[in-house]
């Protein structure tokens, strides 16, 4: 196999990149000055050396514990449980949450062979038992698998004494009722609150 094939094969393993795009990227890199390719190779090699899971919350971080877990201004009595580390970025961008996080590393999916042992649920319960946790906010995605995962987390956490809450679902801000689908409207109605 040639070096071109080698790189195209590796690039094609990335999500959303097919063989054609992988070859296009490979030829693009070959047209660049050699220093640029070397810089890319160095950055890629350093990525797995420098980025690890936070030993507390399983966020991706270069320092352990991660910046959020180390931040003394955050409310450590409230944990927001998310499926993936990338979900933390989305919640942080909203700027509303000042607690800490716990990354499950996925969601229950029997068809993909993912059960509770493949997620960090045991570590979450250990964290709740060892720290003073007041509330656990379950922020898994509002899909069927996300809901089943939330239910499982609730079953594990509730007996430990912390309040378990679920993020709200329904009509999005700026949305239009006329164009919302029936499932979303039904969910919004069932999760209505007093004014």
């Amino acid at each position: 196999m040639s070096a071109i094939d080698d790189l195209a094969t590796e690039l094609a393993k990335l999500p959303g990149i097919g063989r054609k795009t992988a070859l296009r990227l490979t030829y693009h890199l070959l047209k660049q000055p050699p220093e640029q390719s070397k810089r890319l190779a160095t950055v890629l090699a350093e990525l797995s050396d420098r980025v690890h899971r936070c030993s507390v919350c399983f966020n991706l971080t270069e320092a352990d514990p991660c910046g959020i877990c180390r931040d003394g201004r955050r409310d450590r009595t409230v944990i927001c449980v998310v499926e993936e580390a990338s979900d933390i970025g989305a919640i942080e961008r909203a700027g509303e949450f000042r607690g800490v996080y716990h990354v499950l590393g996925g969601r229950l999916s029997p068809l993909d062979g993912v059960g509770p042992d493949d997620l960090t649920i045991r570590q979450l319960t250990e964290r709740i038992q060892s720290d003073e946790i007041r509330e656990v906010i379950v922020a898994t995605n509002p899909s069927l698998e996300g809901e089943a995962t939330a239910l499982f987390v609730q079953r594990q956490v509730a007996p430990l004494g912390a309040a378990v809450t679920r993020i709200a679902r329904g009509i999005p801000i700026g949305g239009d009722l006329e164009y919302a689908d029936g499932v979303t409207i039904a969910q919004a109605l069932s999760a209505r609150r007093a004014m």
Partner: protein, 253 residues
């Protein structure tokens, strides 16, 4: 490129690229289809909540011959099944049923199989939490029957002699059902099926509801189904969702 319009149920969904999703669908007119829902992750305008697991509706798909992945143009959801996530037994059972279809159904028109799946998922979505195992078993045997592997329960699966309803009989996976005393000697079998359980299995195949079972009885039925699937359908590939439904204590948490 023909546009196919048919009823469909989402059995498996996973992300593809930054914006799209790939769905595996059970359809009424085109069997099991893999489709690409372009832009489904970026905007909910086109597909709404339709792309969630076990949602059912009418799809429009552009079908090209010789292609494994077709293009989903529209999915008009007629009903979703959110209650399948409100109990872990229901969720595990529905996943096991979906796996049976994904693994063993073909891309040909299978109207009765589609209807049996839809009915089984509906029953599971409404099943009391302590009866999800029984309802899943009923649905799974119904699907096995629609796939063309219904076990013989009223006559000997080897010599076709009629058998008495009240008898406890040997059950041979290899022969495809119960055996008479003579044939049982020629087909060594690891299981016997008491008359009541044979009647229950018959009721499931005939779409009749049965009541709650004892834990040992329902577990014995899970073993029977697993062995039957392995003999006739599963070959050597593991059924991951089925195994989780059968063995994982979390699904009964």
């Amino acid at each position: 490129m023909p546009l196919v319009v048919t009823d469909a149920i989402v059995l498996h969904a996973f992300d593809y690229s930054e914006t799209s999703r790939i769905l595996r669908l059970a359809t009424r007119e085109a069997g099991v289809l893999s489709v690409l829902a372009r832009g489904a992750r970026r905007s909910k305008k086109r597909f709404g909540s339709a792309l969630d697991l076990f949602a059912e509706g009418t799809i429009e798909v552009l079908v090209r011959d010789q292609r494994d992945l077709q293009t989903l143009c529209a999915f008009d959801v007629t009903h979703s099944r959110p209650t399948l996530a409100s109990d872990l037994g229901r969720f595990a059972g529905a996943s096991a049923l979906a796996e049976l279809i994904l693994r063993f159904a073909t891309d040909e028109r299978q109207v009765s199989l589609f209807d049996a799946l839809s009915r089984s998922l509906d029953e599971l979505a409404l099943a009391p939490p302590d009866e999800t195992r029984e309802v899943t078993l009923a649905g799974a045997w119904r699907l096995v029957g629609e796939l063309g592997f219904a076990p013989s329960l009223d006559s000997c699966s080897a010599c076709h002699a009629d058998l008495a309803i009240a008898d406890t009989l040997p059950f041979s996976h290899a022969a495809g059902g119960v055996l008479c005393a003579n044939c049982a000697r020629l087909h060594p079998s690891g299981r016997t099926l008491p008359a009541a359980e044979r009647a229950r299995l018959g009721a499931w195949m005939a779409d009749e509801r049965t009541g709650k079972m004892s834990d040992p009885d329902s577990r014995a039925h899970q073993r029977l189904l697993r062995e039957f699937l392995r003999e006739h359908l599963a070959q050597d590939r593991a059924l991951r969702a089925f195994e989780m439904w059968e063995h994982a204590p979390w699904s009964r948490a």
